[in-house]
């Protein structure tokens, strides 16, 4: 976004970005900003346009219209030079299978024009960060999925980037591997790096992001700090009810007890500021089972983007 005095704290500014492929609108007027040291998560279902937005920001996809400024340089016009200051973790690992762990980092670092001496001094620290010190000489084929992901993260840091762009950094990882990645990312944020990530995992967004932008059908639906968004848009508590006769219960008792009710298949979601009356009512109905919990990002997300299934597209 153009401002009269350039705000050096804004790392990336996107204004009214639009991109269509034939009849399909991938990005439909997205705008957002990231400030230095901040983590912004683009949250959205499959096919919402998240990856296209990232590609546009990196200068890999020409937008139909809109303005992108990365480190105050216009993108895509100056993307090639600006990418020196960015580290990218792609959605799918594209490590070099012919190389060892060490060689992957060395060869990738050379693309940034960094001399071998600099890279060789930098690599041990990155291997440590990725927990791969013992694997420096291992071929890529020997690594587990989590190790590959950590190596991809280390590779994205080889040029000491100010901004790290991550497309679904933990998709396909087991819980241990995800927690390890999150821990590393929190460390990077604490060290002052800026992170832009896409995800469809609520817990990931809630854990890492200072702010999140919910994206659907190529548009930003809402933006803000995770807790604020939940608080401003949802009731405090959710009671999930299921079992025989749940629909009848929802029709009869639901509206009296809950502020709002949603039905999905065999489950009824009751949104309320106080779950007490609902819980007391349900305790007298043994055929119904229920779970009472605070409203979370998932509720917000489903509220905003709907509960129907999305195809990968």
């Amino acid at each position: 976004m153009r401002v009269s005095a350039p705000d050096t704290r804004v790392v990336l500014a996107v204004r009214d970005l639009r991109k269509r492929y034939g009849q399909t609108v991938a990005v439909d007027g997205a705008s957002f900003q990231i400030r230095r040291g901040e983590c912004l998560a683009l949250l959205g279902p499959n096919g919402a346009g998240k990856t296209t937005i990232l590609r546009c920001c990196l200068g890999l996809t020409p937008p139909d219209s809109g303005e992108i400024r990365l480190f105050d340089e216009p993108v895509p016009q100056r993307a090639r030079g600006v990418r020196v200051r960015v580290g990218v973790v792609p959605q799918l690992d594209n490590l070099d299978p012919d190389f060892t762990v060490f060689e992957n980092l060395l060869v990738y670092g050379r693309y940034f024009g960094l001399p071998d001496a600099t890279l060789r001094s930098r690599i041990p620290g990155l291997l440590e960060l990725a927990g791969l010190e013992q694997k420096a000489r291992a071929p890529i084929g020997e690594l587990s999925g989590g190790m590959k992901r950590r190596l991809t993260l280390a590779r994205a840091l080889i040029n000491d980037p100010e901004l790290i762009v991550m497309d679904e950094p933990t998709t396909g990882l087991d819980p241990q591997a995800r927690h390890l990645i999150w821990e590393r990312l929190k460390g990077l944020l604490a060290a002052g790096r800026t992170i832009l990530l896409t995800t469809h995992f609520m817990d990931e967004a809630q854990r890492l992001a200072d702010r999140l932008a919910v994206i659907d059908h190529g548009r930003k639906i809402c933006e803000g700090a995770p807790r604020e968004l939940i608080r401003s848009r949802l009731e405090a508590q959710v009671v999930e009810v299921y079992g025989d006769g749940v629909h009848a219960w929802a029709r009869d008792a639901g509206p009296r007890l809950a502020a709002r009710i949603e039905m999905t298949g065999e489950t009824v979601f009751c949104y309320t500021e106080d779950a007490g009356p609902i819980a007391r009512d349900l305790e007298s109905r043994p055929e119904l089972r229920f779970l009472s919990r605070p409203a979370n990002l998932e509720d917000l997300f489903l509220r905003l983007t709907g509960r129907e299934l999305r195809d990968d597209s």
């Binding site: 200068g59 890999l60 996809t61 895509p76 100056r78 090639r80």
Partner: protein, 276 residues
């Protein structure tokens, strides 16, 4: 060609509009990519050298010594040197074609190496130029192996042989640029095989490698005159055998034209494929 100051000179204002038809932007940023290819190649050095030596050696032994002993001289040249000087051109062509078809396609679509590289300061232009120069480098390496075999077997030990090396490099560029065009259009491995079967293999038989072009019917000679492999053979053979060259200028121009036009088309098609 105006190489930018490497690594990351100030980008010019007109750069990187992601326009499909923008002029090619050359820079030295392709060098690290070339080094990457070289490092992979070095890991499989033994296999590569072996395949570079065994196959042409078999051709020379089977057709040169075996069949050639039964054949008369061709324009005053014995069959074995005639064949050897053509075979070196074929090997050089195969080298570039394989690298720019199966190698490049695998890096583009299977291993996604290019996708990784595009997240760095290299652009599609740099990646494609790196592929082009790398394929020609492999051609040159194959040419050196072949020259050593030909020299060791005593088939041709002329000083002109060394002069063929730059020619083989440039021939490699022209073979690669066409293959990169096919690569940019390929829908899968089958596209590459089809191109190889329909275009590359017939070219081997129409370029005066195994027999003189004068044996071809007129209409095939007319086609042959426009083939890059014919042009390569027509420069390399007389150079290695110290014979007078005919049409050398036209042949050289043909190779340059194939390189420049092929690369320009490949670049537009590759940008269209990747920058969307």
């Amino acid at each position: 060609m105006t190489p930018e100051s490497f690594p990351t000179g100030p980008p010019d204002a007109t750069a990187d509009r992601l326009s499909l038809f923008a002029a090619p932007r050359f820079s030295l940023r392709f060098v690290p990519l070339w080094r990457r290819h070289f490092l992979v190649w070095r890991k499989y050095l033994f296999e590569r050298v072996l395949s570079n030596i065994v196959e042409p050696l078999m051709t020379l032994v089977a057709f040169g010594y075996g069949l050639g002993a039964l054949l008369p001289n061709i324009d005053g040249v014995k069959y074995l040197p005639f064949l050897a000087t053509g075979t070196i051109c074929v090997s050089v062509m195969y080298s570039a074609k394989f690298e720019s078809l199966w190698g490049a396609y695998s890096r583009m679509e299977v291993q996604k190496t290019w996708a990784g590289v595009m997240n760095t300061p290299l652009s599609v232009d740099d990646i494609l130029f790196g592929e082009l120069v790398w394929a020609a480098s492999k051609s040159l390496f194959t040419g050196i192996c072949m020259l050593l075999i030909i020299w060791a077997l005593g088939i041709a030990r002329t000083s002109g042989s060394l002069l063929t090396l730059p020619v083989l490099f440039f021939a490699g560029l022209s073979f690669s640029s066409m293959a990169l065009t096919v690569n940019a259009l390929a829908r899968g491995w089958d596209s590459l095989s089809t191109y190889f079967t329909v275009v590359v293999t017939p070219m081997v038989f129409l370029s005066g490698v195994f027999f003189p072009l004068s044996r071809l019917p007129d209409w095939l000679q007319a086609i042959s005159a426009w083939l890059p492999l014919t042009a390569t053979v027509q420069i390399v053979r007389p150079m290695m055998l110290s014979l007078p060259m005919q049409n050398a200028g036209r042949c050289a121009l043909l190779l340059v034209a194939y390189t420049v036009i092929g690369y320009a088309v490949a670049l537009v098609l590759t940008r269209r494929r990747l920058l969307k």
